[in-house]
């Protein structure tokens, strides 16, 4: 039935380039660049004559604590965001609730132009300052892209696949779990990655409402006009954001269902 040529052609398709090599090529440069930048910053700070204020601000355990706060805040945000947004996205793509989805999109559009600092300040006025307010602000701010990506990701699944699934007797839940969600994974993950980056970024502002994080170094640097503190804080924050984004990229490449292009 299938000609030899067909078989042969298919056989060549069958040997995919090694997944790992592709991963390495795509993802190797960033850690190298980050390591180089961090090393350069370290050398520059070591070579600089530091005054008392600078020395105190740049103590290793202080830096570690700030970074820890920062990562914790971003991680908590991401977990909450995934739970809320993926769940919400699934609900908003069910036939009975689909009419609500445009509102979510409209909200996402507004959210995009909202200054995060404005949101944090407004929340602080009502909820007081501190980490829980920062967490709420971060979640509110980064939930929308994931929600929107979940909706887009599920809606872009070829409706014929869904029809085929229903047609061979899969229940709506089975269609969701076995077809819609797996095929939406890449788009959802892209949204999660965005949320992660947003969370790291907004967490930099958390220090302004007393919620700690690496932003405190930047604020100190600006306020006290200490270049070393400012640059160290900025470089660490940027490196953290790029690292987490890099990690997100690696993870989403690994979780990508095979069979998609």
């Amino acid at each position: 039935m299938s000609s030899a040529a067909e078989t042969q052609a298919a056989a060549t398709v069958l040997t995919p380039p090694s997944r790992w090599r592709g991963l390495l090529r795509r993802h190797a440069p960033m850690p190298a660049i980050l390591a180089a930048v961090l090393l350069a910053t370290y050398l520059w700070v070591s070579a600089t004559d530091l005054d008392d204020i600078e020395r105190r601000a740049l103590e290793a355990d202080k830096l570690l604590r700030a970074a820890g706060e920062h990562v914790t805040l971003a991680a908590q945000t991401t977990v909450l965001v995934v739970a809320i947004a993926v769940g919400g996205g699934i609900l908003l793509t069910r036939p009975s609730l689909r009419w609500l989805a445009p509102f979510a999109t409209a909200l996402a559009n507004i959210g995009q132009a909202t200054p995060a600092i404005g949101l944090l300040v407004l929340l602080s006025i009502f909820l007081g300052i501190g980490s829980s307010t920062a967490l709420i602000g971060l979640v509110a701010y980064s939930v929308l892209p994931v929600l929107q990506n979940t909706i887009v990701g599920i809606n872009q699944v070829d409706r014929h696949l869904i029809e085929a699934g229903r047609g061979i007797g899969m229940s709506p839940i089975a269609v969701l779990l076995r077809i819609e969600l797996p095929l939406a994974v890449p788009v959802i993950l892209a949204g999660v990655r965005t949320a992660l980056v947003l969370a790291v970024g907004v967490a930099t502002l958390a220090t302004l409402i007393n919620a700690g994080g690496l932003g405190s170094l930047i604020v100190t640097g600006i306020k006290l006009q200490r270049e070393t503190i400012l640059v160290t804080g900025a470089v660490l924050t940027a490196a953290l954001a790029l690292t987490l984004d890099w990690l997100g990229g690696v993870i989403s490449d690994l979780l990508r269902p095979r069979g998609l292009d």
Binding site: A10, A164, G167, G169, R178, L260
Partner: protein
């Protein structure tokens, strides 16, 4: 063919809220076990809706649909659909699952154990002509369009459902592939004898595939429901005739086989034997031809009296080349062969290529002008299925 009723649509209606006219109105149809019923009609006529009500992808608004005597609404929709094969134009293979996983989905939902599913998937792949060892672990995107649709058919057959619904299954493939898939499917159906509801908007496909064809109009109203032969011979009204399109008589040629019409005999000249007998025969009937054959009786060339007179010693180069058909070929192929030959005759050969007789334009004309009623003796179409099936055995080269 058994005549148990397999699918029974009783006054089925489908309304959509906010729409005045029903999409399907008062549709009734009885389908026998083993038939391929083709629903054909213009787009938007409700043929797909009608089909989808059978597996309740669309719920009927009123009326009853029985499958093998059971009302489909008595079953859970998902359970029902697991028992009905379903093939769609877009194939709908899940891109993130291997071919074998796709094929094994229904058995898995039915709770078969892994071993059995695996064996079944291999068996089905083999059945649709895809070597399991090569294809079972492939992903859909690594297959050609035709291969994908074969897997689609295999998936639909997985739990051996008695009924299959096919929504323009070959519509998205190129003409060559479509033809091959149609032929393969008809051959498969010979063994499987499923009851099939087949939707298409292509009337030629309907003629080729259908045991019976329902020509549908607006709101799925049945304009005519009959065998392809009768439909072509006697369209119920001008709309059906229009839909059949031009060349209804030519299309009939697709439905008949060479072995269903009378063959004529012609004088044979064996090259290694004296030609005198044949020569005498040719001289008797003015302007007729003889056939040269080799030692195994395989036809070589047409020769007439002039050829014999001109080159009595070099008969292997005299006259005209012959065109041959096999008994299972359709009359259309025979016509094609005749038109290619000087004498308007095609030579019928058996499976070994040996001379069996000839068919001529005159013989063809007689058939066309005397389209017999169904079941009339001597119609040469003992069974509608077998009248169609031979087409399935043609390779593309022959067509």
């Amino acid at each position: 063919m058994s005549h148990d009723v397999m699918i029974d649509l009783q006054q089925v209606n489908k309304f959509y809220r906010g729409q005045k006219a029903p999409v399907v109105e008062n549709m009734s149809m009885t389908i026998q076990q083993g038939e391929i019923i083709v629903l054909v009609g213009p787009s938007g006529c409700g043929k797909t809706t009608t089909m989808k009500m059978i597996n309740r992808l669309i719920e009927p608004s009123s009326g009853r649909i029985l499958i093998d005597g059971t009302d489909v609404t008595a079953l859970d929709g998902n359970d029902l659909r697991r028992q009905i094969g379903y093939v769609i134009q877009q194939v709908g293979l899940f891109p993130h699952m291997s071919v074998a996983t796709n094929v094994g989905l229904v058995p898995k939902m039915l709770g078969w154990d892994a071993k059995r599913i695996e064996a079944r998937a291999d068996e089905l792949l083999h059945l649709v002509g895809l070597e399991p060892a090569i294809y079972r672990n492939r992903l859909p995107r690594q297959l050609s369009g035709g291969q994908q649709q074969r897997v689609g058919v295999a998936r639909a057959l997985a739990a051996d459902p008695p009924v299959m619904l096919m929504d323009e299954p070959f519509g998205a493939t190129d003409p060559m592939t479509r033809d091959r898939l149609q032929n393969e499917f008809l051959r498969l159906q010979e063994q499987l004898r499923k009851t099939i509801v087949f939707v298409t908007h292509d009337f030629d496909e309907a003629i080729k595939m259908g045991t019976r064809i329902a020509v549908l109009g607006e709101r799925s109203k049945i304009r005519q429901f009959d065998t392809p032969e009768n439909l072509l011979a006697q369209p119920a009204d001008s709309t059906v005739a229009q839909f059949i399109g031009r060349g209804a008589r030519l299309k009939q040629l697709d439905l008949r086989r060479v072995d269903a019409i009378t063959w004529q005999d012609v004088p044979l000249i064996q090259l290694d034997k004296p030609v005198n007998g044949a020569k005498r025969q040719l001289d008797q009937t003015e302007g007729s031809s003889a056939l040269t054959v080799d030692a195994d009786n395989r036809p070589l060339r047409w020769v007439n009296a002039d050829d014999l007179a001109a080159r009595p010693d070099a008969l292997d180069e005299a006259g005209q080349t012959v065109t041959t058909v096999e008994p299972q070929a359709t009359l259309r192929d025979a016509l094609d062969a005749m038109l290619a030959s000087r004498d308007g005759a095609a030579v019928v050969v058996d499976e070994h290529g040996r001379y069996a007789g000839t068919v001529t334009l005159d013989g063809l004309m007689q058939v066309i002008h005397h389209t017999p009623e169904r079941g009339e003796p001597g119609s040469g179409v003992p069974d509608q299925r077998s009248a169609v099936a031979p087409a399935a055995e043609l390779t593309p080269e022959q067509r």
